[in-house]
Amino acid sequence: MATTSLDHALERLRSTRVWKSIFRRDPAHTNRTRSLAIFGNFFLHALPAKVRQQSLRVRATYYLGSATFFLFVVLTITGILLMLYYHPAVPQAYRDMKDLRFVVSNGVFLRNLHRLAAQAMVVAVFWHMFHVFYRGGYRPPREFNWVVGVGLLLITLFLSYTGYLLPWDQLAFWAITVGTNIISAMPALGKPIRFLLLGGNLVGENALLRFYVLHCVILPLVAVVLIGVHFWRVQKDGGLSVQQKVEEEEGGKEE
């Protein structure tokens, strides 16, 4: 009885003008309306309307790309929340970090979630890349998407690196000192790039602010664009790359 009344209520909701203005389609009962549900949704339109069943098996991908994206979403949410308590200034940054750990309710949880998710994302990206590499997923027609993926690896590493300075403790200071010294070893361009990156000759207030803006605005924007291209290309390059052997094994078992 309860389900029928719920169905009835849902049916009435679907016939309202507001619902129809948002979704502009019938309930996803047929293949056509199911496809339209994907095509007609801004958030899903980069996804394929149909996928091969093999590519949904856990062993086909281990969902490593999805795991990486999930971690990116977690990092975005926790990062925005952390920004509400953090001032990118010397010496306030270190005090804010300490406040987040000891004073702010659940601050230590959010900070650690952000930190651990960042480390997990680096692991997930590498694991995803190894998996794609050993399964031959980089081969034509997917070679450009591999290049986009390498770009995303670099963005992930830059995000980790820029985030490293923000606690403004000894570890952060020396890590960025060492890292920017590595940059300055590059011939000709090294010293100017280091100067621009730090906004000076030392790791100081300017460097903290620049790394903060890179970490919170510039690199995430680039990452979102590249992630969009990456997902869209998966569909345009003919879906996920499924290992031939898995398909054969599956076929053998079914027979």
């Binding site: 020396w174 000192t177 060492v178 010294n181 100067f195 621009l196 906004g199 000076g200 000759n201 030392l202 100081g204 207030e205 300017n206």
Partner: protein, 167 residues
Amino acid sequence: MSESDKSPAPKPLGAQAISTSRRDFLNEVAVGALGIAGLGAVVITYRYLSPNVLFEPSSTFRAGNPDLYPVNSVTYLHEQQVYIVRTEQGFYAVSAVCTHLGCITQWKPDANQIACPCHGSKFRSDGTKIEGPAPRPLPHFSITLTVDGELMVNKLETVKPSQTLRV
């Protein structure tokens, strides 16, 4: 002039070897203008990103009167992270920043060497490397005498280790 005199009438565009249509020409002009504007934007952004005023400790500093430093001594200046070394030949200034990963080294008078606490690099008092992961010797900074007779070190200018200041 003679050429133009000979031609009977202005030829229609594209009739000669000109393959560019008006649309292509305007497109090229537009792309060129955008390219110049883009290049200008890059230059302006680069200049904007390079700070003109830095609130950093000055890279040049006065190290005081030469008489403060006895002959055959190594003095560490904590504020500046520089060793002032006085030998019988004269003065030189050696960086205290390890060339391996940028840690601050320490002068060990008993062992007569400069040691890095981070990864164990060791240097002589003239900056040359004894051992350790450091790839290069410690650099020497330019050291001069001011008009009023004080030592002046410029940390942005490195000099050859053979260069010493005689006072």
